[in-house]
């Protein structure tokens, strides 16, 4: 009996691997094939001669370096900016009582329900009125506030022991010092989680560059890779997959090191 259930389990696992992992293997395998090899049927499982040049070709066919710099600038800027808006707001919601607090906290939570797909057109109009289309600011500012971040960090701040705060106040520590020396070190896991979520979300972002840019000046990698599908001589799938591999590498590296942490971070809301 045990053997049968083990065999059943192995078969199930193999099916799951086939469905969820094999597509990624196919992406990697295609990235090393020649254009000719992508046009044979049935396709070969392995590339005959791994074409490392494909990755160089991607960098030549599209201004890869330019997109990469834009991706780095916008991603890092958003991560830093969100910290600047989220930490003080979470601290105020956690440690202060003030008029309108429930209302403002409610407003914060409501913004979680307003998707980007709903608001992009008025924002495009707004940015174009200020001549901000095709600027970094237009790709960074819509991400300035993070309702989820405030929500998560406020919860952590609420758990900071009162005795610790009283002791610090007796020592006449300034508020800034209390935040810096007590609140932030105690919340390090939450801060790392938020930074990871923001990094992954912004690095992968295809939507905002699509709707808020009209030329290549500030466009980022995901959009750059997609532009290769418009090649006149047919779609170069080997280059598309090589590009996909390149832009997925940072995410996959982070995932390999912190998959447990990342799954937990992404599924946090649902666990409640």
């Amino acid at each position: 009996m045990k053997i049968f259930s083990n065999i059943g389990k192995t078969i199930c696992n193999l099916i799951l691997l086939l469905v969820f992992f094999f597509p990624f293997y196919w992406m990697l395998s295609t990235a090393f094939k020649t254009l000719g090899e992508t046009m044979t049927f049935p396709p070969a499982l392995f590339p005959a001669n791994p074409q490392w040049e494909n990755f160089l070709h991607v960098i030549e066919v599209i201004p890869f370096g330019h997109y990469l710099i834009n991706s780095c600038i916008t991603t890092i800027a958003v991560v830093v900016l969100q910290m600047f808006t989220t930490i003080p707001a979470a601290y105020a919601f956690s440690q202060y009582d003030f008029k309108g607090k429930p209302l403002l906290f409610g407003l914060t939570l409501i913004t979680m329900m307003i998707p980007a797909q709903l608001v992009f057109m008025p924002l495009f109009i707004l940015f174009s009125q200020f001549n901000m289309i095709n600027t970094y600011a237009s790709l960074i500012l819509p991400f300035a506030g993070s309702a989820f971040g405030i929500f998560l960090l406020r919860q952590r701040f609420n758990q900071v022991p009162k005795e610790l705060l009283e002791a610090a106040r007796l020592d006449k520590a300034s508020e800034l010092k209390i935040i810096w020396k007590i609140f932030l070190p105690l919340s390090r896991p939450v801060l790392v989680t938020l930074a990871l979520l923001t990094f992954i979300g912004k690095w992968n972002d295809y939507f905002w560059p699509l709707v808020l840019t009209t030329n290549d000046t500030v466009r980022t990698l995901p959009m750059g890779i997609v532009t290769m599908t418009n090649a006149e001589s047919g779609t170069p799938y080997h280059l598309l997959m090589a590009g996909n591999v390149l832009i997925s590498i940072p995410i996959i590296v982070i995932y390999l090191f912190a998959h447990k942490h990342i799954i937990k971070a992404f599924t946090y809301m649902g666990d409640k």
Binding site: Q117, Y206, I247, S248, I251
Partner: protein, 292 residues
């Protein structure tokens, strides 16, 4: 005196940057869209024509929009069912905390954190009618190949498959956490009653995880209503409007035909639909869901 004012004003100062961001980039655009839906405007001309509710009237009789609504509804129903149904199966299967199961969890979750643009391109390749892996697999089974994304009868199904593939790991992981928090003594009691596997699932497991199921239903429904990137990259609403969804037509009217008023009207209708769904879910939630 000055110090007192500062300490009253301080919390407001602290939340000001975040609130400014929310007002400017979430609340303002929604208001602005409601206002724009009452005008006829092409984004370029300096003046907007006020036309009252004419856009809404036109939208009501617009057959293309009806098709769009239907497509979005089909997409939403099947992707939500697929995400939660398959997610639940996977979660039940991987419930036991073993090394192999943990590795499988990481593998199944991986598509969720890769860019939707990359995932779309990958599946464009896998579903390529001439040289794609899927048709090669069908060929090996002596089944004729399918024009996955290029035929009206299969395009929507293909888009749904891709979206479920990408996000089912998310639902599975959330359901897994919910399953693991069901108290073990409930199962022990059920075992004493010699309850069957099916009875345990329907009488213990599902009621206990119903808050999570409701949460996922809301989240996935709203996400599905807003499906866009996959459509924009893979089918552009075609063939023959078979994958034209609400947000894609909003995008087309806004950025391709420059009919800002009409596009805004579509946005407002989408917002109303989402709000209604959220309210219905919460009413149902307060009535039906079992809490511990």
């Amino acid at each position: 005196m000055k110090k007192k004012f500062l300490s009253i004003g301080k919390p407001y100062l602290l939340i000001a940057p975040a609130m400014a961001a929310f007002l400017l980039f979430s609340i303002y655009p929604v208001m602005s869209m409601v206002q724009l839906s009452l005008f006829d405007w092409n984004m370029i001309s300096p003046e907007k024509d006020f036309i009252g509710l004419a856009n809404y009237q036109k939208l009501f009789y617009d057959e293309d929009f009806r098709q769009t609504l239907l497509n979005t509804a089909v997409f939403t129903v099947f992707s939500v069912l697929g995400d939660i149904g398959l997610g639940l199966l996977i979660a039940l299967y991987l419930k036991k905390n073993t090394l192999v199961n943990r590795i499988m969890q990481s593998v199944i979750f991986a598509p969720y954190i890769i860019s939707l643009a990359s995932i779309s391109l990958l599946w464009m390749w896998l579903m390529n009618p001439d040289y794609g892996l899927l048709n090669a697999a069908l060929e090996a089974l002596h089944i004729p190949g399918i024009n996955w994304l290029g035929s009206p009868q299969y395009a929507m199904l293909s888009v749904i498959l891709i979206c479920v593939w990408k996000s089912v790991g998310y639902d599975a992981m959330i359901l897994l956490a919910a399953l693991q928090s069901v108290p073990e003594n409930l199962y022990e009691a059920a075992a004493l009653d010699r309850a069957s596997w099916w009875r345990k699932l329907t009488k213990v497991t599902l009621p206990m995880i119903s808050p999570t199921l409701f949460f996922l239903t809301i989240v996935e429904t709203i996400a599905s209503f807003n499906v866009f990137e996959t459509i924009q990259i893979l089918t552009r609403g075609g063939p023959q409007n078979s994958t034209d969804t609400i947000v894609f037509s909003l995008y087309q009217y806004g950025f391709k035909f420059y009919r800002i008023g009409y596009a805004s009207t579509i946005g407002v209708v989408l917002m109303i639909i989402m709000t209604l769904f959220t309210i219905v879910y919460f009413v149902l939630l307060s009535k039906r869901v079992h809490y511990q």
